[in-house]
């Protein structure tokens, strides 16, 4: 049975249950606070929740069942024994059976398609039958419970609370899902390549991997260095002074009217999509940086230099630094600044000797958060930095980053479980751990030093 029709049927059953239970409850006495509508909602919940839960679980498990059924079909005997070729034929057969691709690339896939369609239809009917039975059973249970004195409101509210709890737990599930998928794929990568080769190797050339020793071309140190050079050194050298100075100017010097329209203007910098910055960096900034490098006597200044990507990345980060610094400067008690000014210090001296030291934990935390954003940023480096991994101190030389390599590794048409694609997950895990640590340190800094002036 097609999914929309099934959902429609379940919805109809729920509506019938709602009307029937409501009518039955309205004809009898209920405890205080319970309205007839509550009994209706209770019935509808009991009718809808079990089949929907079943269908969600089913949609996760049924592809494996269908594939299994197809593999036992006679047409499957011509398939390769396993691994990637078999998986690709199977997925093509699935696409043909769904009708999303027509011309068969592989004859064996075309032969499998009818078996696929048949197995899919069979399991779909089984699922629909079970779902409808569950709905009917739920409806019958609700019908028996709705009697005089049945406290439907409490039951319904417990159900609603469970729904809200389930939505909240999804956040934990997502976090665990990220961690599990990264760790799982990365562990498969580390089964092929030793951890030490990956973390300490200085040669990165995934295009030419020696199958006997894949670790030799997958040393990630040049990527870590490029990420640090672009995201932590150049971008921060731009963003920290600009962000801090503008925060100080806006909180200490600017008139309220100026502040009211300049602050949103700076926030716009954070709202511009990163692909726009990437295009700007690649088209305008990178050639300018190259010309500047050549004019300064560096004849092999690159058009994909670390400097161009880092400069634009830094500009993107400015509003993060400035708004977090702004908040922590504003949180310093006014008495401190007033006392300093009353003693005859100038504004600059007050800022440098009183306000910034007092607001330092917040500022440091803001800089760390901005740093974690800078090393995780992808599009600017994909479009403006280089794909070639080098170990160079020269900001005008090409440099690459972890995020750029993740994109490069996963956008080719390679086997999904080769060392090349699995390396992307190992890089992702490294990036995830690094940003997590930065965020944890930032949180700790704020928590430990915050209450000093309360």
């Amino acid at each position: 049975m097609p999914t929309p029709a099934l959902l429609f049927l379940l919805g109809g059953l729920a509506l019938v249950g709602w009307i029937a239970a409501r009518g039955r409850a309205a004809a009898s006495a209920a405890p205080r606070g319970t309205l007839p509508g509550h009994a209706g909602t209770y019935a509808a919940l009991l009718i809808l929740a079990p089949p929907l839960l079943f269908l969600v679980g089913w949609s996760a498990g049924s592809p494996a069942l269908v594939t299994n059924a197809v593999l036992h079909d006679r047409a499957a005997s011509a398939l390769p024994a396993g691994g990637f070729p078999r998986a690709s034929i199977l997925s093509e057969a699935r696409e043909i059976a769904r009708g999303s691709t027509r011309p068969a690339f592989d004859r064996r896939a075309a032969a499998l398609a009818p078996a696929y369609a048949a197995a899919q239809a069979r399991y779909d009917w089984i699922a629909a039958g079970v779902a409808v039975l569950l709905a009917l059973a739920g409806g019958a249970a609700a019908w028996r419970q709705v009697r005089p004195g049945f406290a439907a409101r409490r039951r319904v509210e417990r159900g609603v609370e469970a729904l809200l709890l389930a939505a909240s737990l999804l956040a934990i599930v997502t976090t665990l899902g990220i961690l599990a998928s990264l760790v799982w794929e990365a562990s498969r990568f580390f089964a092929l390549v030793p951890v030490s080769d990956f973390l300490l190797g200085t040669h990165w050339s995934p295009q030419a991997i020696d199958p006997r020793d894949p670790g030799a071309g997958l040393g990630a140190v040049p990527l870590f260095w490029g990420t640090i050079l672009i995201g932590a050194v150049i971008a921060m050298a731009v963003a920290v002074p600009l962000g801090l100075l503008s925060a100080v100017y806006l909180t200490q010097y600017a008139r309220a009217a100026t502040r009211r329209w300049v602050k949103p203007l700076l926030e716009v910098l954070a709202g511009v999509p990163t692909v726009v910055y990437g295009y700007f960096a690649a088209l305008t900034v990178a050639p300018a940086v190259r010309r500047l490098g050549v004019a300064l006597g560096n004849a092999d200044a690159s058009g994909e230099s670390a400097l161009a990507a880092g400069l634009v990345l830094g500009m993107m980060i400015v509003p993060f630094v400035s708004s977090l610094a702004d908040d922590s400067l504003a949180a310093v008690p006014a008495g401190l600044a007033d006392a300093s000014l009353a003693l005859g210090a100038t504004r600059r001296e007050t800022v440098a000797r009183v306000l910034i030291p007092a607001a330092l934990p917040g500022i440091v935390a803001g800089v760390l958060l901005a740093l974690s954003r800078a090393i995780g940023e992808t599009m600017i480096v994909v479009m403006a930095a280089s794909g070639i991994a080098t170990l160079s101190l020269d900001p005008l030389a090409p440099a690459t980053t972890v995020t750029r390599q993740i994109v490069d590794l996963l956008t080719g048409e390679a086997a999904f479980d080769g060392p090349k694609t699995l390396a992307a997950f190992a890089l992702g895990l490294t990036l995830f751990v690094a940003t997590l640590l930065l965020n944890l340190v930032a949180l700790t800094v704020v928590k430990r030093y915050r209450q000093a002036y309360d």
Binding site: R94, L169, A171, L266, L431
Partner: protein, 394 residues
């Protein structure tokens, strides 16, 4: 009181040393102030420069050059017929003046009874009109323009068409429709889940030990780089669940995971801002906790929650990196028909066009950026307007 008074001299405000020091400190103060103003101006100037660059490069994509081709519209229009008409009108290289596949445009546009039809001119003609080709070609284009054979019209095809290999015919509608479908999926998943999680954390969790864990997860998710969500989408939705590649459904699910924490954080703020007296009053007249929340707290918190949702979705609308990993970077020449059709979205379209070298695509990329920024401006402006309006009503 001792008779030995401390020898306290009045400050000599005219002492040269003191005045010198004061002058130095005030000069430093002025320098610092100018430095701060300079930083703000630099950031604002960077933004202005970026926008002006995009507008300057992209404005040309909204207009296009057309050839006014005399043709017999009573007869069926074929490729050979159009080429022959071009040779008659503009000489032996006439067909080269027209864009690739221009005869299809001619067939669509030809109206019986009119003696001419407007067909898109080729990229080379555009360059010649701008004076960027060889001098002879430049002069010829100017002459054609002078006699009315070359005109400029608004390029509806840029807004209505889908991606194409030829910049003259490439349009944004395919990517825009992909973005719309993706955003619909994001809203359908992220809004209810984010709203429910925010309600649970603020109104029901109390001292539940799970609440701390949920809170830590949400704050952590809000700080995870977007590309990590792409890896999750690739491993989970494509790898484990076997959903189709390049589909708005998968893109939307991936972006929904990214948007949900933003909605939760904004939603919690809005729910916390509802005065406790509202809850107390409702409880006092016998409402249950769920009734308090759904009948009283939620309507009051809705403007804030919606604003947070729109801002989170605007961020998802501009997101590129995670979508590259789940395959939404393919060349797709037709707008998607449904949630599982291969599609691309506006920012990815910009990325794809930015890789093309031809002059026409540079223009298209900048113009697409202008459109994306315009949409984001409208959406964010809409959020501010909505909040103002809903808050004014109560």
């Amino acid at each position: 009181m001792t008779d030995r008074a401390t020898p306290s001299l009045p400050t000599d405000w005219r002492a040269p040393g003191l005045r010198h020091r004061l002058r130095r400190r005030h000069a430093a103060e002025r320098r610092f102030r100018r430095l701060g103003a300079g930083a703000v101006l630099f950031a604002a100037g960077f933004l202005a420069f970026l926008l002006l660059t995009m507008v300057g490069q992209g404005l040309g994509a909204f207009t296009r050059t057309v050839l006014v081709l005399p043709i017999d519209t009573a007869r069926p229009i074929t490729e050979a017929g159009v080429d022959a008409a071009a040779v008659r009108a503009f000489g032996a290289d006439g067909p080269l003046l027209m864009a690739d596949q221009a005869w299809r445009v001619a067939r669509e546009r030809a109206a019986v009874g009119r003696a001419t039809v407007r067909v898109p001119a080729s990229d080379a003609v555009d360059a010649a009109l701008a004076g960027q080709a060889a001098p002879a070609a430049n002069a010829r284009a100017a002459a054609l323009r002078a006699r009315g054979a070359l005109r400029t019209e608004f390029a509806w095809s840029f807004l209505r068409g889908a991606d194409a290999t030829d910049p003259v015919r490439a349009g944004l509608w395919g990517a825009a429709k992909g973005s719309l479908l993706t955003m619909a999926v994001v809203f359908a998943f992220a809004f209810p889940i984010g709203l429910f999680a925010a309600l649970w954390l603020e109104e029901f969790a109390g001292r539940n030990p799970w609440a701390d864990l949920v809170e830590v997860s949400i704050n952590n998710l809000a700080a995870v780089p977007s590309i990590i969500f792409g890896l999750l989408g690739l491993a989970l939705f494509l790898g484990t669940l076997g959903l189709p590649r390049s589909a708005p459904l998968v893109g939307g699910l991936t972006l929904a995971l990214m948007t949900m924490p933003v909605i939760v954080i904004a939603g919690r703020g809005a729910i916390r801002a509802v005065p406790p007296s509202v809850r107390d009053a409702a409880l006092a007249v016998g409402a249950s906790r769920a009734q308090v929340v759904f009948h009283h707290v939620l309507p009051l918190a809705m403007p804030g929650i919606l604003t947070g949702t729109i801002i989170g979705m605007a961020r998802a609308l501009g997101e590129t990196a995670p979508l590259l990993l789940i395959g939404m970077r393919a060349f797709i020449a037709a707008p998607p028909g449904g949630l599982t059709d291969p599609a691309t979205v506006l920012p990815v379209q910009i990325f794809l066009w930015s890789d093309e070298v031809s002059h026409g695509f540079v223009e298209k990329t900048s113009a697409a950026i202008m459109m994306l920024l315009l949409v984001l401006l409208v959406v964010n402006g809409g959020a501010v307007w909505l909040r103002g309006r809903l808050e004014a009503r109560r």
